[in-house]
Every structure is written in C-alpha cells, then in structure tokens.
C-alpha cells in the first residue's frame, strides 16, 4: 500500500464542485471512502526514484503538427445539422442558462 490518504466528505464536495458534478449529500461519505482507498493506493508513485527524470506527456515523437489556416468546407456542419442534437434552441441558436 502507498501512503494513507484521507479524503473527507467536505473535500469530496469541493472536488465535485471543481469537476462540475453535483454529488448528493447522502453519497459524500461513500465517495470519501472510495477516493481515500484509491488515492492511498496510487500514492505508491511517490516511492519511485524519479530524481532527474523528466515527465512524459505524450509518446508520438511528433511536435508542432501544423495545417494551413484555411477553412475546410468538407468539415463544416450546416446550421440545422449543428443544432440537430440540442435540447433547447431558438431561431438557429443554442439556448443556455445565463452564466452570471
């Protein structure tokens, strides 16, 4: 096992807010226990000797993959196609709740 990590129900609530997930109050305890168990286990990575080791973010060996800055009309959706899956729309626009 790795280091013991203890995630509290309050922290679960906070993480839920950061992740834009509404966690029901009755589930906070259960998630706190699940997350504590998993985070404790994965804390093992802290025992690895990574002195002087650089992180790897991707393994393609590629960098700066560019394309011409032009519109590719074959990849454009029509307005009605773009809106075809929206639950709420108005006059060709998506309807969303106000942010502020």
């Amino acid at each position: 096992m790795g280091m013991k990590a203890k995630i509290t129900p309050d922290e679960v609530k906070h993480i839920g807010e950061l992740a834009n997930l509404k966690i029901a109050t009755k589930d906070l305890e259960k998630y706190a226990s699940d997350l504590s168990e998993v985070i404790s286990y994965v804390s093992r990575v802290q025992k690895a000797d990574v002195k002087g080791v650089l992180p790897t973010n991707q393994v393609t060996g590629l960098s700066n993959v560019f394309r011409e800055d032009v519109v590719d009309s074959s990849r454009m959706l029509t307005q009605s196609a773009a809106l075809s899956n929206a639950k709420r729309k108005h006059d060709g626009y998506f309807v969303i709740d106000s942010i502020f």
């Binding site: 790795g2 995630i7 679960v12 993480i15 839920g16 950061l18 992740a19 834009n20 997930l21 509404k22 966690i23 998630y31 699940d34 997350l35 168990e37 998993v38 985070i39 286990y41 994965v42 804390s43 093992r44 990575v45 802290q46 690895a48 990574v50 080791v53 650089l54 992180p55 790897t56 973010n57 991707q58 393994v59 393609t60 060996g61 590629l62 993959v65 394309r67 990849r75 959706l77 196609a81 773009a82 075809s84 899956n85 929206a86 639950k87 709420r88 998506f94 969303i96």
Partner: protein, 472 residues
C-alpha cells in the same frame, strides 16, 4: 456456420460468388436473434432489412479491385461516432446522441465496403475492466453467462466470440481490447499509439487511447489493420510512419526470434492455471525455433498507480466538455465509476496535489518507457499473461473499485509507453474458461507481433474453439 471462417476465406468466396454478403449478414443476424438477449452485447443494432439492402448492393458492385473487407459484416464499440447512427459510449449522458459526422476508422471501413451490423455495449466511457459499468446493463460472457465478458470492450469481443460478426473494432486505453479478447477466446490487437486515427473516437484518456481490431484470428486482425492504419490529417497525433503490408510476411518463419519473458508478470497474483497455459505457449515458441530469454520489469508495482492517475486526469478534462447544451444530457447522468474517475483526476490535477500525483505519474511513465526499451533491446518481443485470473462472476468486482482496477495490472503498462500488444487465446482452465496471452513489441512492430501470433495459431487450435452455447 459461415462466420467461423477467416476473413481471407470469406473474401475469396465472396469474390468467386461461392458466397454472398447477404448470406453472411443473415448468418450474423441469426446469431444475434438467438443470443443477444442472453449476452447483451449490443447497444444499437442496425435494422436487418436496411443492412440486407446494403449487402445486396455490395454483392452487385464487388469487383476484382474491391478490398478484402468488401461485403464483410462488422461491429464497433459504441465509442466511435457514426454519422446518423446513435452513439452512446454506454452512458445515459449520450443516450439520444446521433452524430453529424463519422470517425475516420468507421469511414475507412465503409470505404472498404465492410458492412456495419451494430454498436457494441462497453463500460461507460471505457471506464472499467469487466463491462459491468454500462448504463445499458452488463455484457455476459458467451462461455458462461453468469460471468463477465471483460472490459471495457466486452460487447465487441463477445459478439466476435459468438459469431454475430466477422470482426469488430475496439478501443484500448489500458487493456480494453486485450482483456475481453482473453476472456472470450478471441484475438485483439492494441496498436502503437498513433497507428490508427482517433478522430471521432470518444476520448477516455487521449494520450493512451488506441483504435484496433477484434477478431477470431491473428490473420484477420492483419487484414483489418491494413484498412484502418495510417496518418490522418484530422488527428494530429496520428503517425506518419509508413504502413507496411501486414499479411505479406505473416507466414514467414519465426526461427531465431527472441521471446522475452518478463518474470515480474508471473509473480504471486497470477492464477496458476494461467501461468501453466503460458508456460506451454512458451514451449510452442521454443519448438518453432524461438529463443526464450528471461527479462526484468521492476516497475509493476507502479503499473496501476500510473495508469490510475494519468487516465482519470485526462478523462476529467475530456469529460468536462459534456454539458448537455449542444448534444446529450446533463452531467447528473454520469454514474458512480465515471464520477469517481472524474474526481480522482480532478484531485490529482488540482493545485497542491499536481506535483505529488499527476506530474509524478508522468515521471514514472518515463521510467516505464526506459524499462520497456531496455527489455526490447534484449529481445524481439515480450510474452506475458493478459489478466491475472479468469473472468469473474457478474457483480463480484463491481462493488470494490480497487479490486476492479487490479484486473488490468498486466495490460496497463503498455499504454503509457505507446507500444503495441497482441492478445490471443492460449488455453482453457478447469472451468472451461478461456485463457489469453499477450505479445508486446517495440513501437510500430505490429507486423512482427502479427507474424509471431500467426505462427502460434498455425501450431495450435485454441482460437478455433467456440463457446459451447453455440452447439446447443
């Protein structure tokens, strides 16, 4: 049963008109009608009459230049967008989502003339190793319907196993093609990262996700990979490395090849019957002239931690965009396992924990790359088990998130490294449950893995054994 035959045989018979695509499609639906209610391997099935019409058209238009996949029925994990066909990723968030465009892998298969039968059940968003975390119910294993089929691509592997299709397309982020292949007695290839375009693949962990074939034989995988591999301008991470002819050298001798055995993959957690089956496979390779060499992988302790920090971190970012505004339903439809993974990722990326978790895992990932590089400098391929134990009973692991993760221990280290791995059948345990092994190699060594796998399948008959339910 027509669908027992290899793609190569079916293709020959389609061209000589000995067989028609209509016959194949009818054969597929016969098994779907008979068994889908028992194993639940589909989320969305195409209308049979529509598919038969496509098959008729295919029979009419097939000519000498048609692709070997022309007229051949296939299935796809429901993680690929298919224009006009509902795509859910097995989540109620996308319950009614009908894509307006198609994934490159789907488009390429359509261009080759292959015929889509349906979209397969899976663990929602790829989150799981047993296919129990689906909002559309678990997939049941055709070899024993009280057991899981493996995950996350259980539906695709089960469909191949029970002959509802000639082949399938899976997606492997930590074992999602290989684990269900091992547990359903089918063959599956996790390709090198970037070998097949991910455009239109609903992302789980973007730097781990790979697109690959699920089929009855290694040779079939070679035929499918030939059609789907290659660089794609719509996926900047797809590789410009040239695509070889995968079937050309399949039958070439493997004499003198060095097969590395990473001893740490055979330690205490491994079921003894699986251990024995793989020991026997090693002897088959020895008899074919391969040189067997023990090698060391000292980082297995970090396998699950690295996977389970980077995967959820990337998934928390990928799933952040699902807001139900332009398509799909709201975030309240994410279920337990997905919410857990989103929160673990959010936690490990959050300020104060980033260095200790996410960044640390990315450093250990670098160590994985180094260690695989060292092992593969001493041998041509590596041979290891796919899963530590046989398919579990439905419900056995689902309530224990940590145990649920450990099923992936032998498969999750290849994805952070990017290397390919071929899973194929190598025996049965005393409960008559399938056992699989995996052959791993350097980046873009798919041709070699396929050759090694094909050599094994020419010597053994494990891959030909069908679920007993089919004989009843």
């Amino acid at each position: 049963m027509l669908l027992d035959e290899t793609i190569s045989n079916l293709s020959k018979k389609l061209r000589s008109r000995e067989l028609s695509s209509v016959d194949l499609v009818k054969d597929a639906y016969k098994n779907i009608d008979k068994y889908n209610s028992k194993i639940n391997s589909f989320i969305t099935l195409q209308d049979k009459n529509d598919v038969l019409k496509e098959a008729e058209l295919s029979d009419k238009n097939r000519d000498i230049d048609s692709s070997p996949l022309n007229g051949i029925p296939f299935v796809m994990k429901d993680s690929y967008v298919t224009c006009g066909i509902r795509t859910t990723s097995a989540s109620k968030v996308l319950e009614d989502y009908v894509p307006q465009y198609s994934a490159t892998v789907y488009q390429k298969l359509l261009d080759s003339g292959a015929i889509l039968i349906g979209k397969n059940n899976m663990d929602a968003w790829g989150h799981g190793g047993t296919n129990e975390n689906s909002d559309f119910g678990p997939v049941k294993n055709p070899w024993d319907v009280s057991r899981v089929a493996g995950g996350s691509g259980g539906g695709t592997a089960a469909s191949v196993s029970i002959r509802m299709t000639a082949f399938g397309i899976g997606e492997d982020t930590g074992g999602s093609i290989r684990n269900p292949a091992a547990w359903t007695n089918t063959t599956g290839l996790k390709v090198s990262y970037g070998r097949v375009s991910r455009y239109g693949c609903i992302a789980y962990a973007s730097s781990f996700d790979t697109v690959g074939p699920a089929a009855k034989t290694v040779e079939d995988c070679a035929y499918v990979l030939q059609e789907i591999a290659g660089v794609d301008s719509k996926d900047a991470t797809s590789s410009p490395v040239e695509v070889p002819n995968y079937s050309k050298d399949l039958a070439k001798s493997i004499k003198g090849m060095t097969v590395g055995i990473p001893e740490d993959f055979f330690s205490e957690g491994l079921d003894q019957e699986i251990h024995k089956a793989i020991d026997e496979a090693v002897e088959v390779y020895r008899s074919l002239g391969a040189v067997i060499k023990k090698v060391k992988f000292s980082l297995l302790d970090y396998a699950i931690p690295v996977y389970y920090l980077i995967g959820p971190s990337e998934t928390s970012s990928n799933l952040a965009r699902f807001d139900g505004l332009r398509f799909g339903n709201g975030r309240d439809k994410f279920t337990d396992e997905t919410s857990r993974r989103i929160m673990i990722g959010t936690y490990s990326l959050s300020s104060g924990y980033y260095d200790a978790y996410y960044r640390r895992a990315q450093c250990v990932r670098t160590l994985f790359i180094k260690e695989y590089g060292e092992m593969l400098s001493k041998c041509d391929v590596l041979l290891a088990p796919v899963t530590p134990y046989a398919p579990t009973k439905i419900g056995e692991l689902v309530s224990d998130p940590l145990q649920n993760l450990l099923v992936d221990i032998y498969t999750v280290t290849t994805n952070p490294v990017g290397i390919p791995s071929l899973a194929l059948p190598c025996g049965f345990d005393t409960n008559k449950l399938p056992i699989g092994m995996q052959i791993m190699g350097s980046m873009f060594s798919e041709d070699l893995l396929l050759r090694m796998g094909h050599a094994y399948q020419m010597e053994t008959d494990w891959h030909k054994v069908k679920p007993p339910i089919l004989d009843k």
